[in-house]
C-alpha cells in the first residue's frame, strides 16, 4: 500500500483528477447554476458522448495513427440507423446492431486501406472522411430521419439518480471499463498494444501487425457508431449535420480527450481512464466558460489552446510519468 500510493500519485490520471476537482470547485464558486440539477444532467449527457468519441480516437492513436473520418463514420452510421428504423421499419434492437456493424465496416475499410497502401492513416482517413460523407449525402439527399421510434429517442432523455445523471454516461463508463479490461487483461488487447508500440518487434514475435491495425480501426468505427447512437437519442433525429460539415466537429473532442488523458500520439501506450478524465475536463471547461459568459467564440479559442498545451505535454509526458504503466 505504501508503495502503491505514491505510484498512483505520480500518474497522469491522478494529476488530471486533481485538475478536474479544482475546476469543479472554481466553477461552483464563481458561476450561477453550475451545480444545478439541470446543468449536471446536461453535463452528464455531453460528457458521455465526448468520452465515447475520445475512446474511438484513442484506439487508433494506439497504433500511432489517426482517424480523421471518425465524425463522418458516426454520421454515416447514424443516418444508416435512421434509414433502417424509419424507412425499412426494422425494430430498434436489430437496428442498433446494424448501426454498430456499419461503423465497424467503415472502420475496417480505413484499416485495410491503411495497411495495404502503407500510407499514414492521417491521409487515408482524410480521404475517406470526404468519401463517406459525400456518399451519405448523395444516398440520403441530405434529408434527415426525424421520425425515429420513441422507444429509441426517449432513451436520451431518461434521468437517473434523482434526475442528475443520464444513462448515456453509464454506457460510456461501461465502455471504459470494458476497454480497460480488454487492453489490460486479454491476449488480443496486449497484442494490439504491442503492435502499436513497436511494429517490427511485434511482427518478429508472431503478431500480425496489419491485422491488429485493422482491428483498431474497426474498434474505432464501432465506438464511433456507439457515440452516434448516443447523439441520435439525445437530439431525437438522425441529421446529416449532427457532427458538422464532414463530421469535423467531432475532431476537437476526439483529440483532446485522449491526448490530455495520456495516450501517446506516437502509439503503444494508452490511458482509458485518462481519456475519460480528459473528456470530463474538456466538457467542464466548456460548460464553465459558457456559464462565466466569456463568449461562445472564445470557447473554441480556449479549447484550441488546451489542445496545443496537451500536445506539448505529450512530448514531455514520458519523462514525468511512470514508464512501466502502459495501460491505465
Amino acid at each position: 500500500m505504501t508503495k502503491k500510493l505514491p505510484n498512483f500519485m505520480f500518474t497522469n490520471q491522478f494529476g488530471l483528477f486533481c485538475i478536474v476537482i479544482i475546476f469543479v470547485i472554481i466553477f461552483s464558486s464563481i458561476t450561477d447554476g453550475f451545480t444545478s440539477r439541470f446543468n449536471i444532467y446536461a453535463l452528464s449527457r455531453v460528457v458521455a458522448i465526448d468520452i465515447m468519441i475520445g475512446l474511438a480516437m484513442m484506439v487508433v492513436i494506439l497504433t500511432g495513427g489517426l482517424n480523421l473520418a471518425l465524425g463522418a463514420i458516426g454520421v454515416c452510421a447514424a443516418m444508416f440507423g435512421g434509414w433502417c428504423m424509419e424507412t425499412m421499419g426494422i425494430p430498434v434492437i436489430p437496428s442498433i446492431f446494424l448501426i454498430l456493424g456499419m461503423g465497424s465496416f467503415l472502420g475496417y475499410i480505413n484499416g485495410v486501406i491503411t495497411v495495404k497502401t502503407g500510407v499514414h492513416s492521417f491521409i487515408v482517413t482524410l480521404a475517406t472522411m470526404s468519401i463517406y460523407f459525400g456518399l451519405m449525402t448523395m444516398l440520403t439527399e441530405a434529408e434527415a430521419f426525424r421520425r425515429l421510434p420513441a422507444s429509441f429517442t426517449d432513451f436520451g432523455s431518461i434521468k437517473l439518480f434523482n434526475k442528475y445523471v443520464s444513462p448515456l454516461l453509464i454506457i460510456s463508463v461501461t465502455a471504459c471499463l470494458t476497454l480497460f479490461y480488454l487492453f489490460k487483461f486479454t491476449d488480443i488487447g496486449r497484442k494490439l498494444i504491442a503492435a502499436g508500440a513497436n511494429p517490427d518487434a511485434a511482427e518478429l514475435s508472431g503478431i500480425s501487425v496489419n491485422t491488429m491495425f485493422i482491428y483498431c480501426h474497426m474498434l474505432s468505427g464501432f465506438l464511433g457508431a456507439v457515440a452516434a447512437i448516443m447523439l441520435t437519442t439525445r437530439i431525437g433525429a438522425a441529421i446529416p449535420s449532427m457532427a458538422g460539415q464532414l463530421g469535423m466537429d467531432w475532431l476537437l473532442p476526439a483529440f483532446l480527450a485522449p491526448v490530455i488523458g495520456g495516450t501517446l500520439l506516437s502509439g503503444g501506450k494508452l490511458s482509458v481512464f485518462g481519456t475519460m478524465l480528459g473528456a470530463i475536463l474538456v466538457t467542464l471547461i466548456t460548460n464553465g466558460l459558457y456559464l462565466i459568459d466569456v463568449g461562445e467564440f472564445w470557447i473554441r479559442f480556449f479549447l484550441g489552446i488546451i489542445l496545443l498545451i496537451a500536445v506539448i505535454l505529450d512530448k514531455t509526458r514520458e519523462h514525468f510519468t511512470l514508464k512501466s504503466v502502459i495501460v491505465s
Binding site: 450561477d32 446543468n39 455531453v46 441529421i239 449532427m242 459558457y290 473554441r300
Partner: protein, 339 residues
Amino acid sequence: MKLLFSLIVSCTISISTTAFAGSSGTKVALVPGGPHPYFAAWEKAGKDAVKDFGLGKADYKVPAEWDLSQQNELIESLVGKGYNAVLVFPGDAVGTNKILGELDDAGIPTAALAGCVEQPTKAKMCFGTDTGHSAYLGTKQLIKAMGGKGKIAHFTGFLVDPNTTLRINAVEKAVAEAGGGVEIIQVIADIDAYEPADEKINAFMAAQGGEVDGIVTTAWVPAVVASQALTNMGDKRIKMVGIDHDEVVLKAIKEGYVHGTMLQNPYGQGYIGSYVMDKIRGGCVFKANAPWKSTAQTDQFIDSGTVFVDITDVDTYVDAMRGISLDILKTFDGTYLDC
C-alpha cells in the same frame, strides 16, 4: 444603415410602449441557429425589451457554428445559468423539438423565432416571417417586372434551415401560376455564407448570365452577393428581387440594379417575442381560439410581417416595418392571450 434601421424602429416602439414597463424575473435567452447577420437585430431587440417591459434579462447568445449539438449545449448552459425563457431559431425543424420538450418539462417556456419547428412541439408559438409567402410575393413581383415571361434563377439559404424548402416550393408555385411563360433554370441552395455564395453565384453569372432574365433571392447572403454581382456587371437587364435590408441590397435598389427586396422583421421578432415570454411566465396562456396561421410545419404560427420595397419607397421602408411591429404589439394581448 442596419444600425440606423434598428435605432429608428426601436426608438419609435420604445416610446409607444412605455405603458408596458414593469418589473419581472423573466430572463430570456435569444438563441439563433448560428452566426448570421439576419439575427443581429435580436441583440438590440432584447435590450430594448428589458428596458421597456422590465424583464430581468433578454440576451442574444450565438452558437459558434451552425450545429444543432452546439446550439443544444449552449441552451442547456444558459438554462443552467438561470435563464428561464428561450427564444430559438431551430437548428433543425424536428431535432430542436427534443430540447424544447425538456425545457418545457423543466417549466421553461420556449418559442421558435424566425423559423418554426414541426409539430408536435412544446414550443408555445412560432413567430417569424411567413417565409413561403414572402418568397411567393417576391417571385410574383419579379415576374411582373419581367413582363410575365423569361428565365429565372433562385438563390437561397442553408439546406438545414427549415425555411429553405418552403422558399423553394413557394418560388415554384409562383412560377407555375405564371402560365408557362416563366421557367426556373437554376436553384442554388446552401449558400447563405459569403464564400460559397460568392463562388457559386459568380460562376452562375459567368456561365448563364446571358440566358437568365430574372433572379429571386430568398436568403440574406445570396441577396447581398447577387446584388453586388449585378452592380459590378452594370447589368440592368436582369431583374432581381432580393430579401432583407442589407445596405448593399438597398444601394443596388436605389441605383436601379435591383428591382426590389422583401423585408422581414427580425427586430420585431426579438422584441415582441421577449415580451410574450414574459407574459407567459406571468401566467398568461394563449387563447383557445387564437387566430393562428398555418404553415407546412406548424399551425401555431404568427406572422411577424413582410413588405415589398422598391425604388419608390426604399427611403421610407423603416416606416413600413415600424408600423407592422407596432400593430402586432398593440393588439397582441387582446388577440392571442388570456391573462
